[in-house]
Point group: C2
Chain length 313, copies 2
Protein backbone atom coordinates (compact mmCIF):
# COMPACT_ATOMS: atom_id res chain seq x y z
CA UNK A 1 0.00 0.00 0.00
CA UNK A 2 2.94 2.34 0.63
CA UNK A 3 3.94 1.67 -2.98
CA UNK A 4 0.40 2.41 -4.17
CA UNK A 5 0.42 5.62 -2.15
CA UNK A 6 3.71 6.67 -3.75
CA UNK A 7 2.42 5.76 -7.23
CA UNK A 8 -0.69 7.85 -6.72
CA UNK A 9 1.30 10.81 -5.36
CA UNK A 10 3.45 10.73 -8.48
CA UNK A 11 0.46 10.36 -10.80
CA UNK A 12 -1.51 13.24 -9.25
CA UNK A 13 1.65 15.23 -8.59
CA UNK A 14 0.08 16.07 -5.23
CA UNK A 15 1.63 14.93 -1.93
CA UNK A 16 -1.67 15.84 -0.32
CA UNK A 17 -4.21 14.06 1.82
CA UNK A 18 -7.64 15.52 2.51
CA UNK A 19 -8.88 15.07 6.07
CA UNK A 20 -12.51 14.01 6.08
CA UNK A 21 -13.40 15.39 9.52
CA UNK A 22 -16.96 16.64 9.11
CA UNK A 23 -18.77 18.37 11.97
CA UNK A 24 -22.29 19.70 12.23
CA UNK A 25 -20.83 23.23 11.92
CA UNK A 26 -19.19 22.41 8.60
CA UNK A 27 -22.00 20.50 6.89
CA UNK A 28 -24.11 23.01 4.88
CA UNK A 29 -27.66 23.68 6.01
CA UNK A 30 -29.29 22.20 2.91
CA UNK A 31 -27.64 18.81 3.59
CA UNK A 32 -28.55 18.84 7.26
CA UNK A 33 -32.14 19.81 6.47
CA UNK A 34 -32.55 16.94 4.02
CA UNK A 35 -31.03 14.45 6.47
CA UNK A 36 -33.10 15.67 9.43
CA UNK A 37 -36.25 15.58 7.29
CA UNK A 38 -35.65 11.90 6.68
CA UNK A 39 -34.24 10.81 10.07
CA UNK A 40 -35.06 13.61 12.50
CA UNK A 41 -32.54 15.31 14.78
CA UNK A 42 -31.08 11.94 15.73
CA UNK A 43 -27.72 10.22 15.55
CA UNK A 44 -28.99 8.67 12.31
CA UNK A 45 -29.82 12.12 10.97
CA UNK A 46 -26.38 13.46 11.82
CA UNK A 47 -24.68 10.39 10.35
CA UNK A 48 -26.66 10.72 7.12
CA UNK A 49 -25.67 14.39 6.90
CA UNK A 50 -21.94 13.77 7.30
CA UNK A 51 -22.01 10.85 4.88
CA UNK A 52 -23.79 12.91 2.18
CA UNK A 53 -21.39 15.78 2.84
CA UNK A 54 -18.38 13.48 2.49
CA UNK A 55 -19.67 12.06 -0.76
CA UNK A 56 -19.88 15.54 -2.21
CA UNK A 57 -16.31 16.31 -1.15
CA UNK A 58 -14.93 13.04 -2.47
CA UNK A 59 -16.72 13.39 -5.82
CA UNK A 60 -15.32 16.91 -6.18
CA UNK A 61 -11.66 16.19 -5.39
CA UNK A 62 -10.97 12.48 -5.95
CA UNK A 63 -9.18 12.93 -9.28
CA UNK A 64 -6.79 15.53 -7.82
CA UNK A 65 -5.49 13.70 -4.75
CA UNK A 66 -3.96 10.35 -3.83
CA UNK A 67 -5.49 9.86 -0.39
CA UNK A 68 -8.03 10.81 2.23
CA UNK A 69 -7.81 10.69 6.01
CA UNK A 70 -11.11 10.27 7.83
CA UNK A 71 -10.74 11.16 11.53
CA UNK A 72 -12.76 8.46 13.29
CA UNK A 73 -13.55 10.59 16.38
CA UNK A 74 -15.77 12.78 14.21
CA UNK A 75 -17.86 9.69 13.39
CA UNK A 76 -17.61 7.93 16.77
CA UNK A 77 -19.27 10.94 18.39
CA UNK A 78 -22.46 10.00 16.53
CA UNK A 79 -22.44 6.49 18.03
CA UNK A 80 -23.28 3.44 15.95
CA UNK A 81 -24.86 5.46 13.09
CA UNK A 82 -21.66 7.53 13.01
CA UNK A 83 -19.53 4.41 12.76
CA UNK A 84 -21.70 3.23 9.87
CA UNK A 85 -21.06 6.59 8.16
CA UNK A 86 -17.32 6.05 8.76
CA UNK A 87 -17.48 2.64 7.13
CA UNK A 88 -19.53 3.94 4.18
CA UNK A 89 -16.97 6.72 3.72
CA UNK A 90 -14.02 4.29 3.79
CA UNK A 91 -15.74 1.97 1.31
CA UNK A 92 -16.71 4.82 -1.02
CA UNK A 93 -13.21 6.28 -1.05
CA UNK A 94 -11.66 2.89 -1.77
CA UNK A 95 -14.13 2.39 -4.64
CA UNK A 96 -12.89 5.73 -6.00
CA UNK A 97 -9.36 4.25 -5.79
CA UNK A 98 -8.25 6.67 -3.07
CA UNK A 99 -5.80 5.45 -0.45
CA UNK A 100 -7.59 5.62 2.92
CA UNK A 101 -5.66 6.57 6.04
CA UNK A 102 -7.85 5.82 9.05
CA UNK A 103 -6.92 8.48 11.61
CA UNK A 104 -7.77 6.30 14.58
CA UNK A 105 -4.75 6.86 16.87
CA UNK A 106 -5.28 3.45 18.43
CA UNK A 107 -2.69 1.83 20.67
CA UNK A 108 -2.76 -0.88 23.29
CA UNK A 109 -0.74 -4.01 24.05
CA UNK A 110 -0.45 -7.58 22.84
CA UNK A 111 -3.69 -9.23 21.84
CA UNK A 112 -5.58 -5.96 22.29
CA UNK A 113 -3.32 -4.10 19.89
CA UNK A 114 -3.71 -7.02 17.50
CA UNK A 115 -7.49 -6.63 17.75
CA UNK A 116 -7.17 -2.95 16.75
CA UNK A 117 -4.83 -3.87 13.89
CA UNK A 118 -7.31 -6.47 12.69
CA UNK A 119 -10.25 -4.08 13.12
CA UNK A 120 -8.74 -1.40 10.89
CA UNK A 121 -6.28 -3.14 8.57
CA UNK A 122 -6.77 -6.89 8.74
CA UNK A 123 -9.23 -9.75 8.78
CA UNK A 124 -10.83 -11.31 11.82
CA UNK A 125 -11.44 -15.03 12.08
CA UNK A 126 -15.04 -16.08 12.79
CA UNK A 127 -15.38 -19.85 12.70
CA UNK A 128 -13.63 -20.80 9.47
CA UNK A 129 -14.22 -17.43 7.81
CA UNK A 130 -11.86 -14.46 7.62
CA UNK A 131 -13.70 -11.14 7.42
CA UNK A 132 -12.49 -7.55 6.97
CA UNK A 133 -14.10 -5.27 9.60
CA UNK A 134 -13.31 -1.62 8.64
CA UNK A 135 -10.62 -2.23 6.04
CA UNK A 136 -8.70 1.03 5.80
CA UNK A 137 -5.32 1.07 3.98
CA UNK A 138 -3.35 2.79 6.74
CA UNK A 139 -4.06 3.56 10.39
CA UNK A 140 -2.47 6.06 12.77
CA UNK A 141 -1.07 4.53 15.96
CA UNK A 142 -0.02 5.92 19.37
CA UNK A 143 3.44 4.75 20.58
CA UNK A 144 3.18 5.50 24.32
CA UNK A 145 2.99 1.78 25.23
CA UNK A 146 6.19 0.88 23.36
CA UNK A 147 6.99 -2.01 21.02
CA UNK A 148 4.36 -4.30 22.56
CA UNK A 149 1.77 -1.95 21.14
CA UNK A 150 3.34 -1.61 17.70
CA UNK A 151 4.49 -5.13 16.81
CA UNK A 152 0.97 -6.57 16.39
CA UNK A 153 0.35 -3.80 13.84
CA UNK A 154 3.58 -4.67 11.99
CA UNK A 155 2.47 -8.29 11.69
CA UNK A 156 -0.87 -7.32 10.17
CA UNK A 157 0.80 -4.70 7.92
CA UNK A 158 3.14 -7.29 6.48
CA UNK A 159 0.37 -9.85 6.00
CA UNK A 160 -2.00 -7.41 4.34
CA UNK A 161 0.59 -5.16 2.67
CA UNK A 162 -0.90 -2.21 4.52
CA UNK A 163 0.71 0.43 6.71
CA UNK A 164 0.66 2.58 9.83
CA UNK A 165 1.69 6.11 10.76
CA UNK A 166 3.05 6.31 14.29
CA UNK A 167 2.62 9.55 16.27
CA UNK A 168 6.10 11.03 16.73
CA UNK A 169 5.76 14.81 17.12
CA UNK A 170 2.19 16.00 17.01
CA UNK A 171 1.10 19.40 15.66
CA UNK A 172 -0.60 20.80 18.79
CA UNK A 173 0.82 23.54 21.06
CA UNK A 174 1.21 21.25 24.10
CA UNK A 175 2.80 18.37 22.19
CA UNK A 176 6.10 19.28 23.82
CA UNK A 177 4.88 18.58 27.36
CA UNK A 178 6.03 14.98 27.07
CA UNK A 179 7.33 14.61 23.49
CA UNK A 180 10.05 17.26 23.89
CA UNK A 181 11.42 16.00 27.21
CA UNK A 182 15.14 15.32 26.99
CA UNK A 183 15.89 11.64 27.58
CA UNK A 184 19.26 9.99 26.94
CA UNK A 185 20.42 13.40 25.69
CA UNK A 186 17.70 13.61 23.02
CA UNK A 187 14.11 14.75 22.94
CA UNK A 188 11.64 11.91 23.37
CA UNK A 189 10.23 12.44 19.85
CA UNK A 190 13.66 11.66 18.44
CA UNK A 191 13.80 8.39 20.40
CA UNK A 192 10.35 7.54 19.10
CA UNK A 193 11.55 8.45 15.59
CA UNK A 194 14.52 6.09 15.94
CA UNK A 195 12.15 3.31 16.96
CA UNK A 196 9.90 4.08 13.99
CA UNK A 197 12.91 3.72 11.70
CA UNK A 198 13.84 0.41 13.35
CA UNK A 199 10.28 -0.96 13.19
CA UNK A 200 10.19 0.04 9.53
CA UNK A 201 13.20 -2.12 8.71
CA UNK A 202 11.00 -5.16 9.34
CA UNK A 203 8.34 -3.79 7.00
CA UNK A 204 9.88 -2.48 3.79
CA UNK A 205 7.73 -1.91 0.71
CA UNK A 206 9.01 -2.69 -2.79
CA UNK A 207 10.75 0.69 -3.02
CA UNK A 208 12.86 2.69 -0.58
CA UNK A 209 10.01 3.37 1.88
CA UNK A 210 8.71 1.22 4.70
CA UNK A 211 5.14 0.44 5.72
CA UNK A 212 5.76 2.21 9.02
CA UNK A 213 5.21 5.93 8.62
CA UNK A 214 5.35 8.73 11.16
CA UNK A 215 3.14 11.67 12.11
CA UNK A 216 5.06 14.94 12.49
CA UNK A 217 3.17 18.23 12.72
CA UNK A 218 3.62 20.96 10.10
CA UNK A 219 3.78 23.39 12.99
CA UNK A 220 7.23 22.05 13.99
CA UNK A 221 9.41 22.47 10.87
CA UNK A 222 12.76 22.28 12.71
CA UNK A 223 11.81 19.03 14.37
CA UNK A 224 10.58 17.80 10.99
CA UNK A 225 14.01 18.51 9.47
CA UNK A 226 15.74 16.51 12.19
CA UNK A 227 13.26 13.65 12.04
CA UNK A 228 13.60 13.49 8.25
CA UNK A 229 17.28 12.57 8.79
CA UNK A 230 16.55 10.16 11.66
CA UNK A 231 13.98 8.23 9.61
CA UNK A 232 15.24 8.25 5.99
CA UNK A 233 12.95 5.42 4.80
CA UNK A 234 9.87 6.63 6.63
CA UNK A 235 6.95 8.37 4.98
CA UNK A 236 5.86 11.32 7.10
CA UNK A 237 2.19 12.24 7.44
CA UNK A 238 2.14 15.97 8.18
CA UNK A 239 -0.97 17.45 9.81
CA UNK A 240 -1.31 21.10 10.72
CA UNK A 241 -1.19 22.70 7.25
CA UNK A 242 -3.58 25.62 6.80
CA UNK A 243 -6.03 25.88 9.69
CA UNK A 244 -3.35 25.02 12.26
CA UNK A 245 -0.88 27.48 10.75
CA UNK A 246 1.62 25.49 8.62
CA UNK A 247 2.63 26.86 5.15
CA UNK A 248 4.14 25.18 2.09
CA UNK A 249 7.54 26.80 2.53
CA UNK A 250 7.78 25.40 6.07
CA UNK A 251 7.21 21.91 4.79
CA UNK A 252 9.93 21.23 2.25
CA UNK A 253 12.25 19.71 4.81
CA UNK A 254 9.72 17.00 5.60
CA UNK A 255 10.43 15.68 2.09
CA UNK A 256 13.46 13.73 0.94
CA UNK A 257 15.52 14.95 -1.98
CA UNK A 258 13.63 12.51 -4.22
CA UNK A 259 10.63 14.82 -3.69
CA UNK A 260 8.90 12.01 -1.82
CA UNK A 261 8.69 10.89 1.80
CA UNK A 262 5.95 13.19 3.02
CA UNK A 263 2.24 13.69 2.55
CA UNK A 264 0.61 16.87 3.83
CA UNK A 265 -2.84 16.78 5.38
CA UNK A 266 -5.41 19.52 5.32
CA UNK A 267 -8.85 18.99 6.81
CA UNK A 268 -10.93 22.09 7.55
CA UNK A 269 -8.85 24.11 5.09
CA UNK A 270 -10.30 21.95 2.31
CA UNK A 271 -13.64 20.58 3.45
CA UNK A 272 -14.80 23.86 5.02
CA UNK A 273 -13.25 26.05 2.30
CA UNK A 274 -16.69 27.41 1.34
CA UNK A 275 -16.87 29.05 4.80
CA UNK A 276 -13.67 31.04 4.13
CA UNK A 277 -13.86 34.51 2.63
CA UNK A 278 -11.51 33.45 -0.14
CA UNK A 279 -13.94 30.82 -1.42
CA UNK A 280 -17.23 32.36 -0.31
CA UNK A 281 -18.22 32.91 -3.96
CA UNK A 282 -19.00 29.18 -4.26
CA UNK A 283 -21.71 29.38 -1.60
CA UNK A 284 -22.83 26.51 0.60
CA UNK A 285 -24.32 24.64 -2.35
CA UNK A 286 -20.94 24.75 -4.05
CA UNK A 287 -18.97 23.41 -1.07
CA UNK A 288 -17.48 20.67 -3.25
CA UNK A 289 -16.22 23.14 -5.85
CA UNK A 290 -14.80 25.30 -3.07
CA UNK A 291 -12.95 22.25 -1.74
CA UNK A 292 -11.64 21.55 -5.24
CA UNK A 293 -10.34 25.12 -5.56
CA UNK A 294 -8.70 24.85 -2.13
CA UNK A 295 -6.99 21.57 -3.11
CA UNK A 296 -5.68 23.23 -6.27
CA UNK A 297 -4.31 26.15 -4.25
CA UNK A 298 -2.68 23.83 -1.73
CA UNK A 299 -1.12 21.77 -4.52
CA UNK A 300 0.25 24.97 -6.06
CA UNK A 301 1.65 26.20 -2.72
CA UNK A 302 3.45 22.93 -1.97
CA UNK A 303 4.54 22.40 -5.57
CA UNK A 304 6.13 25.87 -5.67
CA UNK A 305 7.93 25.29 -2.39
CA UNK A 306 9.30 21.97 -3.61
CA UNK A 307 10.38 23.51 -6.97
CA UNK A 308 12.13 26.35 -5.19
CA UNK A 309 13.96 23.80 -3.05
CA UNK A 310 14.95 21.71 -6.09
CA UNK A 311 16.34 24.86 -7.67
CA UNK A 312 18.46 25.56 -4.62
CA UNK A 313 19.81 22.02 -4.15
CA UNK B 1 -19.27 9.02 39.17
CA UNK B 2 -16.00 8.73 41.09
CA UNK B 3 -18.12 9.02 44.24
CA UNK B 4 -20.50 6.34 42.98
CA UNK B 5 -17.52 4.10 42.20
CA UNK B 6 -16.18 4.59 45.73
CA UNK B 7 -19.60 3.94 47.24
CA UNK B 8 -19.95 0.70 45.29
CA UNK B 9 -16.43 -0.45 46.21
CA UNK B 10 -17.30 0.08 49.87
CA UNK B 11 -20.66 -1.66 49.55
CA UNK B 12 -19.27 -4.74 47.76
CA UNK B 13 -16.04 -4.61 49.75
CA UNK B 14 -14.32 -5.39 46.46
CA UNK B 15 -11.91 -2.95 44.80
CA UNK B 16 -12.25 -5.07 41.69
CA UNK B 17 -13.18 -4.43 38.08
CA UNK B 18 -13.92 -7.26 35.68
CA UNK B 19 -12.53 -6.77 32.19
CA UNK B 20 -15.11 -7.75 29.59
CA UNK B 21 -12.66 -8.64 26.81
CA UNK B 22 -14.28 -11.58 25.06
CA UNK B 23 -12.54 -13.33 22.17
CA UNK B 24 -13.67 -16.21 19.99
CA UNK B 25 -11.25 -18.46 21.91
CA UNK B 26 -12.89 -17.63 25.24
CA UNK B 27 -16.55 -17.86 24.24
CA UNK B 28 -17.75 -21.45 24.88
CA UNK B 29 -18.66 -23.60 21.89
CA UNK B 30 -22.36 -23.85 22.77
CA UNK B 31 -22.73 -20.07 22.63
CA UNK B 32 -20.85 -19.78 19.36
CA UNK B 33 -22.88 -22.59 17.80
CA UNK B 34 -26.17 -20.95 18.73
CA UNK B 35 -25.01 -17.58 17.39
CA UNK B 36 -23.62 -19.01 14.15
CA UNK B 37 -26.81 -21.04 13.66
CA UNK B 38 -28.77 -17.79 13.70
CA UNK B 39 -26.34 -15.44 11.91
CA UNK B 40 -23.77 -17.68 10.19
CA UNK B 41 -20.01 -17.29 10.54
CA UNK B 42 -20.31 -13.55 10.06
CA UNK B 43 -19.44 -10.41 12.00
CA UNK B 44 -23.06 -10.47 13.21
CA UNK B 45 -22.61 -14.05 14.40
CA UNK B 46 -19.43 -13.21 16.30
CA UNK B 47 -21.02 -10.11 17.82
CA UNK B 48 -24.07 -12.09 18.96
CA UNK B 49 -21.75 -14.68 20.54
CA UNK B 50 -19.72 -12.14 22.54
CA UNK B 51 -22.84 -10.29 23.62
CA UNK B 52 -24.54 -13.48 24.90
CA UNK B 53 -21.29 -14.49 26.58
CA UNK B 54 -21.01 -11.11 28.30
CA UNK B 55 -24.57 -11.28 29.53
CA UNK B 56 -23.83 -14.60 31.21
CA UNK B 57 -20.75 -13.17 32.91
CA UNK B 58 -22.52 -10.02 34.06
CA UNK B 59 -25.52 -11.94 35.42
CA UNK B 60 -23.15 -14.23 37.36
CA UNK B 61 -20.96 -11.58 39.00
CA UNK B 62 -22.85 -8.28 39.06
CA UNK B 63 -23.76 -8.42 42.75
CA UNK B 64 -20.13 -9.03 43.79
CA UNK B 65 -18.37 -6.20 42.00
CA UNK B 66 -18.62 -2.43 41.60
CA UNK B 67 -17.51 -2.08 37.99
CA UNK B 68 -16.74 -3.62 34.62
CA UNK B 69 -14.24 -2.59 31.98
CA UNK B 70 -15.12 -3.56 28.42
CA UNK B 71 -12.05 -3.32 26.16
CA UNK B 72 -13.42 -1.74 22.99
CA UNK B 73 -10.77 -3.26 20.69
CA UNK B 74 -12.30 -6.68 21.29
CA UNK B 75 -15.58 -5.37 19.87
CA UNK B 76 -14.16 -3.07 17.19
CA UNK B 77 -12.48 -6.07 15.58
CA UNK B 78 -15.96 -7.31 14.65
CA UNK B 79 -16.79 -4.08 12.82
CA UNK B 80 -20.19 -2.42 13.16
CA UNK B 81 -21.87 -5.53 14.65
CA UNK B 82 -19.08 -5.63 17.22
CA UNK B 83 -19.65 -1.98 18.11
CA UNK B 84 -23.34 -2.73 18.57
CA UNK B 85 -22.37 -5.56 20.95
CA UNK B 86 -20.16 -3.06 22.83
CA UNK B 87 -23.07 -0.66 23.17
CA UNK B 88 -25.46 -3.43 24.28
CA UNK B 89 -22.90 -4.51 26.88
CA UNK B 90 -22.46 -0.97 28.22
CA UNK B 91 -26.22 -0.45 28.40
CA UNK B 92 -26.81 -3.81 30.08
CA UNK B 93 -24.12 -3.22 32.70
CA UNK B 94 -25.45 0.23 33.51
CA UNK B 95 -28.94 -1.26 33.87
CA UNK B 96 -27.40 -3.66 36.41
CA UNK B 97 -26.06 -0.57 38.22
CA UNK B 98 -22.43 -1.43 37.47
CA UNK B 99 -19.98 1.41 36.88
CA UNK B 100 -18.72 1.07 33.29
CA UNK B 101 -15.11 1.94 32.47
CA UNK B 102 -14.78 2.07 28.68
CA UNK B 103 -11.24 0.90 28.01
CA UNK B 104 -10.90 2.89 24.81
CA UNK B 105 -7.45 4.47 25.22
CA UNK B 106 -8.48 7.36 23.01
CA UNK B 107 -6.42 10.50 22.69
CA UNK B 108 -6.15 13.30 20.15
CA UNK B 109 -6.14 17.09 20.25
CA UNK B 110 -8.59 19.95 20.56
CA UNK B 111 -11.91 19.43 18.84
CA UNK B 112 -10.99 15.85 17.98
CA UNK B 113 -10.33 14.95 21.60
CA UNK B 114 -13.59 16.67 22.45
CA UNK B 115 -15.35 14.44 19.92
CA UNK B 116 -13.92 11.34 21.62
CA UNK B 117 -14.95 12.69 25.03
CA UNK B 118 -18.45 13.33 23.76
CA UNK B 119 -18.59 9.91 22.05
CA UNK B 120 -17.80 8.00 25.23
CA UNK B 121 -18.83 10.21 28.14
CA UNK B 122 -20.92 13.10 26.90
CA UNK B 123 -23.74 14.22 24.68
CA UNK B 124 -23.48 15.34 21.07
CA UNK B 125 -25.56 18.17 19.68
CA UNK B 126 -27.66 17.35 16.62
CA UNK B 127 -29.85 20.28 15.65
CA UNK B 128 -31.46 21.27 18.94
CA UNK B 129 -31.14 17.82 20.50
CA UNK B 130 -28.40 16.53 22.80
CA UNK B 131 -27.85 12.79 22.46
CA UNK B 132 -25.62 10.33 24.35
CA UNK B 133 -23.64 8.18 21.88
CA UNK B 134 -21.93 5.34 23.87
CA UNK B 135 -22.44 6.69 27.37
CA UNK B 136 -19.84 4.91 29.50
CA UNK B 137 -19.10 6.24 33.03
CA UNK B 138 -15.32 6.42 32.65
CA UNK B 139 -12.96 6.19 29.68
CA UNK B 140 -9.23 5.44 29.51
CA UNK B 141 -7.16 8.12 27.76
CA UNK B 142 -3.65 8.23 26.27
CA UNK B 143 -1.53 11.24 27.37
CA UNK B 144 1.14 11.28 24.63
CA UNK B 145 -0.28 14.47 23.04
CA UNK B 146 -0.18 16.48 26.30
CA UNK B 147 -2.73 18.77 27.91
CA UNK B 148 -4.38 19.65 24.58
CA UNK B 149 -5.55 16.05 24.44
CA UNK B 150 -6.74 15.85 28.04
CA UNK B 151 -8.47 19.17 28.68
CA UNK B 152 -11.46 18.48 26.42
CA UNK B 153 -12.04 15.31 28.46
CA UNK B 154 -11.88 17.30 31.72
CA UNK B 155 -14.54 19.66 30.44
CA UNK B 156 -16.91 16.81 29.60
CA UNK B 157 -16.09 15.00 32.88
CA UNK B 158 -17.05 18.07 34.89
CA UNK B 159 -20.22 18.66 32.88
CA UNK B 160 -21.38 15.06 33.10
CA UNK B 161 -19.84 14.16 36.49
CA UNK B 162 -17.95 11.34 34.79
CA UNK B 163 -14.27 10.45 34.80
CA UNK B 164 -11.17 9.31 32.95
CA UNK B 165 -8.19 7.11 33.68
CA UNK B 166 -5.01 8.41 32.03
CA UNK B 167 -2.31 5.91 31.02
CA UNK B 168 0.70 6.58 33.24
CA UNK B 169 2.72 3.36 33.54
CA UNK B 170 1.25 0.48 31.56
CA UNK B 171 1.52 -3.18 32.57
CA UNK B 172 3.32 -4.54 29.50
CA UNK B 173 7.00 -5.61 29.36
CA UNK B 174 8.01 -2.86 26.88
CA UNK B 175 6.17 -0.05 28.69
CA UNK B 176 9.56 1.24 29.84
CA UNK B 177 10.81 1.96 26.31
CA UNK B 178 9.41 5.47 26.51
CA UNK B 179 7.61 5.69 29.87
CA UNK B 180 10.76 4.97 31.93
CA UNK B 181 13.04 7.43 30.11
CA UNK B 182 14.63 9.85 32.53
CA UNK B 183 13.55 13.42 31.79
CA UNK B 184 14.18 16.39 34.08
CA UNK B 185 15.75 13.90 36.49
CA UNK B 186 12.61 11.76 36.74
CA UNK B 187 11.14 8.94 34.71
CA UNK B 188 8.57 10.11 32.17
CA UNK B 189 5.77 8.19 33.95
CA UNK B 190 6.37 10.32 37.04
CA UNK B 191 6.04 13.52 34.99
CA UNK B 192 2.82 12.16 33.53
CA UNK B 193 1.69 11.27 37.06
CA UNK B 194 2.37 14.84 38.22
CA UNK B 195 0.26 16.14 35.34
CA UNK B 196 -2.53 13.72 36.22
CA UNK B 197 -2.51 15.07 39.77
CA UNK B 198 -2.63 18.65 38.45
CA UNK B 199 -5.42 17.93 35.97
CA UNK B 200 -7.33 16.25 38.81
CA UNK B 201 -7.29 19.43 40.88
CA UNK B 202 -9.68 20.95 38.32
CA UNK B 203 -11.99 17.95 38.63
CA UNK B 204 -12.54 16.98 42.24
CA UNK B 205 -15.45 14.74 43.22
CA UNK B 206 -17.41 15.30 46.43
CA UNK B 207 -14.83 13.34 48.46
CA UNK B 208 -11.02 13.28 48.47
CA UNK B 209 -10.68 11.78 44.97
CA UNK B 210 -10.69 13.50 41.62
CA UNK B 211 -12.43 12.52 38.40
CA UNK B 212 -9.03 12.07 36.76
CA UNK B 213 -7.68 8.62 37.49
CA UNK B 214 -4.51 6.90 36.33
CA UNK B 215 -3.63 3.54 34.84
CA UNK B 216 -0.62 1.89 36.49
CA UNK B 217 0.17 -1.78 35.81
CA UNK B 218 0.12 -4.36 38.62
CA UNK B 219 3.35 -5.69 37.13
CA UNK B 220 5.22 -2.58 38.34
CA UNK B 221 4.64 -2.46 42.13
CA UNK B 222 7.62 -0.20 42.92
CA UNK B 223 6.49 2.35 40.39
CA UNK B 224 2.97 2.03 41.80
CA UNK B 225 4.27 2.89 45.27
CA UNK B 226 5.98 6.01 43.99
CA UNK B 227 3.02 7.09 41.88
CA UNK B 228 0.67 6.59 44.83
CA UNK B 229 2.63 9.35 46.60
CA UNK B 230 2.83 11.60 43.53
CA UNK B 231 -0.94 11.43 42.94
CA UNK B 232 -2.57 11.30 46.41
CA UNK B 233 -6.08 12.22 45.19
CA UNK B 234 -6.01 10.02 42.12
CA UNK B 235 -7.82 6.71 41.80
CA UNK B 236 -5.53 4.16 40.18
CA UNK B 237 -6.89 1.58 37.76
CA UNK B 238 -4.51 -1.38 37.98
CA UNK B 239 -4.45 -3.87 35.10
CA UNK B 240 -2.17 -6.90 34.99
CA UNK B 241 -3.53 -8.87 37.95
CA UNK B 242 -3.65 -12.63 37.38
CA UNK B 243 -3.01 -13.52 33.74
CA UNK B 244 -0.30 -10.86 33.42
CA UNK B 245 1.39 -11.97 36.65
CA UNK B 246 0.38 -9.48 39.39
CA UNK B 247 -0.63 -10.83 42.85
CA UNK B 248 -2.63 -9.29 45.72
CA UNK B 249 0.41 -8.80 47.95
CA UNK B 250 2.12 -6.77 45.20
CA UNK B 251 -0.83 -4.44 45.02
CA UNK B 252 -1.30 -3.02 48.49
CA UNK B 253 0.88 -0.02 47.80
CA UNK B 254 -1.42 1.10 45.00
CA UNK B 255 -3.99 1.82 47.74
CA UNK B 256 -4.02 4.76 50.12
CA UNK B 257 -4.14 4.18 53.86
CA UNK B 258 -7.91 4.75 53.74
CA UNK B 259 -8.06 1.40 51.89
CA UNK B 260 -9.27 3.25 48.80
CA UNK B 261 -7.59 4.84 45.81
CA UNK B 262 -7.16 1.77 43.62
CA UNK B 263 -9.30 -0.64 41.66
CA UNK B 264 -7.74 -3.85 40.36
CA UNK B 265 -8.72 -5.23 36.98
CA UNK B 266 -8.77 -8.85 35.94
CA UNK B 267 -10.02 -9.86 32.51
CA UNK B 268 -9.11 -13.35 31.28
CA UNK B 269 -8.50 -14.47 34.88
CA UNK B 270 -12.23 -14.02 35.49
CA UNK B 271 -14.07 -14.35 32.21
CA UNK B 272 -12.03 -17.34 31.01
CA UNK B 273 -11.79 -18.94 34.47
CA UNK B 274 -13.62 -22.03 33.22
CA UNK B 275 -10.65 -22.76 30.94
CA UNK B 276 -8.26 -22.91 33.93
CA UNK B 277 -7.56 -26.22 35.66
CA UNK B 278 -8.58 -24.71 38.96
CA UNK B 279 -12.13 -24.04 37.76
CA UNK B 280 -12.46 -26.80 35.16
CA UNK B 281 -15.12 -28.52 37.29
CA UNK B 282 -17.64 -25.89 36.20
CA UNK B 283 -17.35 -26.89 32.54
CA UNK B 284 -18.01 -24.61 29.59
CA UNK B 285 -21.74 -24.46 30.38
CA UNK B 286 -20.88 -23.17 33.83
CA UNK B 287 -18.53 -20.41 32.65
CA UNK B 288 -20.53 -17.83 34.61
CA UNK B 289 -20.24 -19.79 37.86
CA UNK B 290 -16.53 -20.27 37.21
CA UNK B 291 -16.20 -16.49 36.80
CA UNK B 292 -18.08 -15.97 40.05
CA UNK B 293 -15.74 -18.34 41.88
CA UNK B 294 -12.73 -16.54 40.39
CA UNK B 295 -14.10 -13.16 41.51
CA UNK B 296 -14.56 -14.53 45.03
CA UNK B 297 -10.97 -15.83 45.06
CA UNK B 298 -9.62 -12.52 43.78
CA UNK B 299 -11.62 -10.59 46.38
CA UNK B 300 -10.21 -12.87 49.08
CA UNK B 301 -6.62 -12.46 47.82
CA UNK B 302 -6.79 -8.67 47.72
CA UNK B 303 -8.79 -8.45 50.95
CA UNK B 304 -6.19 -10.51 52.81
CA UNK B 305 -3.34 -8.43 51.46
CA UNK B 306 -5.09 -5.21 52.53
CA UNK B 307 -5.86 -6.63 56.00
CA UNK B 308 -2.27 -7.72 56.47
CA UNK B 309 -1.17 -4.21 55.57
CA UNK B 310 -3.67 -2.59 57.94
CA UNK B 311 -2.30 -4.86 60.68
CA UNK B 312 1.24 -3.70 60.01
CA UNK B 313 0.44 0.03 59.78
Amino acid sequence: MIDKLIGKIQKTNAPIVVGLDPTMKIVPEHIKKAAFREYGETLEGAAEAIWQFNRGIVDAVCDLIPAVKPQIAMYEQFGIPGMIAFQKTVDYCRKKDLVVIGDVKRGDIGSTSEAYAVAHLGKVQVGDSFLAPFDEDFATVNPYLGSDGIKPFLKVCNEEKKGIFVLVKTSNPSSGEFQDKMADGKPLYELVGEKVAAWGEECMGAGPYSRVGAVVGATYPEQGKLLRRVMPHTFILVPGYGAQGGKGADLVHFFNEDGLGAIINSSRGIIAAYQQEQYARFGAEGYGDAARAAVAAMKEDIGQALSARRGSL
